[in-house]
């Protein structure tokens, strides 16, 4: 199928909306749009960050997921208590693949699940006593932890426990930072508010800790990586590039990050922000309080990497700028070879994305480097500022969908017939069974890293092996195939 025109895309949206009752239709129509690069402000054409409709299948998470799963969870040398019933933490345990170095259970705790395992009596009588007991127990069992965070699950807010008081008391006794985070799942409409709450908790309980401590030696080239969760090693692949161009990365937020790195972040010269959605809050705060500028960058695909490296270098003196050019030059042969190998196999393939924070717009460049086209994109929990940034990246007349429902996504796919879909685990098997190649773009489908030049090679290989996998010709049982198809298959 060829590319759709604006009218066709508009008609598709109308058709998909037909099955909804009047009220639902009125709500959903605001979240679906045909991209128009001429629009300056996304809020004129798309509504986002609103409550999902009751009764539809949404792909969103909760505020607890945004705080524990995304922002705090990867801080490897702190222990994050999933405070409340056992399920929230257990079912999300270690699923995000944010890699780290360290000995789990000794000095790092990333893939472990700590929970206060609320029972009926804790709900009835309150869990504060239990929590303070847990804090002491944790410190006895895992003495090398650098601090503890308390990630509230829904019941904590409902029964009104005073986790702040317990934290203050505990911090005094253990002489370690203990951070209460009020990220109960019912707050907000998606995980997005959880990011914000987590950012605020970092601001209030961590950032200022070393304001009067000058023992950390600074250099004029100190930068931080903010909003890179080291999925499959992403942050490492990014870090090497920055270091090669002469910068010193003093903190990683929060993939493979530590409490000390977070505390030292206010001493950086520039904050480099990858996932804008989940960490812009704290970057803004540091700009205001410490005067540290921040910039968004994109390390997906050689075009965007080169653009970002040059932009980053622009913040520093000439020696860095020269080195940045050298880095780009150095990897040129490498990424040219990747493109030469995979572009012919992927040229013209069409992709639909539906992911979270930054990827629905950031990965577009990487696909384009391989000659592919993104024909539909959408976010689970974006705000208007994200769509502002997306409109320019997407082609005209492509589909944009916000908080897409399971039904809408399937219907779009049936008509648009993309060659590849990039979304999450819940969507994966539906689309695979429909015979459409699929990659999980949250966890990189157990692969990665995809950031940086090293990551691009892996990205290209993965896309090729998914799209050109021979299994997609085998979707029809042999006895159902018509003779002509047989013949053409043999000829091929």
């Amino acid at each position: 199928m060829t590319t759709m025109t604006r009218e066709e895309t508009q008609a598709l949206i109308q058709e998909v909306l037909e099955v909804y009752p009047e009220k639902a239709k009125k709500d959903r129509v605001l979240h679906l749009t045909v991209n128009d690069q001429g629009v300056e402000q996304s809020k004129k054409c798309i509504t986002s960050n609103r409550k999902s409709l009751p009764g539809v299948m949404t792909i969103r998470g909760c505020a607890y997921a945004g705080s524990k799963g995304v922002v705090w969870g990867p801080i490897k040398d702190m222990i994050h208590i999933s405070h409340g019933p056992v399920g929230c933490g257990q079912y999300s345990r270690a699923g995000r693949r944010n890699y780290y170095v360290g000995t789990t259970g000794i000095n790092t705790f990333g893939t472990m699940n700590f929970t206060s395992d609320f029972q009926e009596k804790d709900i009835v009588f309150g869990g504060d006593k239990k929590l303070s007991k847990i804090l002491t127990e944790i410190d006895q069992l895992f003495p090398l932890n650098k601090g503890i965070t308390i990630q509230s699950e829904c019941p904590i807010g409902l029964i009104g426990d005073d986790i702040e008081a317990v934290s203050k008391q505990g911090a005094k006794e253990l002489e370690k930072p203990i951070v209460p985070v009020r990220c109960e799942g019912f707050r907000g409409v998606s995980q997005s508010l959880g990011h914000h709450i987590a950012n605020d908790a970092v601001r209030d309980w961590v950032l200022g800790n070393r304001d009067n401590d000058t023992s950390f030696e600074v250099t004029p080239y100190d930068v931080t990586i903010i909003g890179d969760y080291n999925i499959g090693g992403d942050a490492w692949a990014s870090r090497t590039l920055l270091e090669e161009m002469g910068l010193r990365v003093i903190a990683q937020w929060s993939g493979d990050g530590t409490l000390a790195e977070m505390e030292n972040t206010p001493k950086a010269k520039l904050n480099l922000l990858h996932c804008y959605r989940s960490m812009n809050y704290v970057s803004r705060h540091m700009e205001e309080k410490y005067g540290i500028p921040w910039m968004e960058y994109n390390f997906f695909g050689p075009t965007k990497i080169a653009e970002s490296l040059r932009k980053i270098a622009g913040f520093f003196d000439e020696s860095i700028q020269i080195k940045a050019e050298k880095v780009i030059e150095k990897y040129k042969a490498e990424f040219d070879a990747v493109i030469a190998k995979y572009r012919p196999r992927l040229e013209g393939k069409r992709v639909m994305l539906y992911v979270g924070g930054l990827r629905p717009r950031h990965i577009i460049g990487a696909y384009e480097d391989l000659g592919m086209e993104v024909v539909g994109t959408g976010y689970e929990f974006a705000h208007n500022d994200d769509y502002d940034r997306t409109i320019k990246e997407m082609g005209n007349a492509t589909l944009i969908y916000d908080d897409v429902t399971g039904y809408e996504f399937e219907e779009f796919v049936k008509t648009v017939k993309p060659d590849l879909i990039g979304s999450g685990i819940k969507e994966k098997y539906i689309f695979q069974k429909m015979g459409i190649p699929f990659r999980q773009m949250h966890s990189w489908d157990y692969s990665g890293p995809y950031h940086g030049y090293d990551g691009f090679a892996i990205f290209a290989r993965d896309m090729d092996m998914t799209i050109n996998n021979p299994c997609w010709n085998k979707m029809q049982a042999p006895w159902l195939k018509s003779e002509t198809e047989d013949a053409s298959a043999e000829a091929a």
Binding site: E40, Q41, K43, R284, E287, E288, H383, D385, D388
Partner: protein
Amino acid sequence: MPNVMIRIKDNGALLFYIAKKDQEDEIATVEVDTDNEWGGVVELTDGSKYYIEPMSPRPSFPTTLRFKRAE
């Protein structure tokens, strides 16, 4: 009376950010905008208007200020 963080964008324009609502917009016009005074009615590119008592000296951005909604 929202708390608003104002910062300078890459293109030189002022960005009006209401943290509570996660709303980000460029400032289109500022009523009083001289070397030593800043404030009055501030209009955003989406047409909404906010008001702040003109202050002097001109604040240095980024900074957080309290605005009133102006109609």
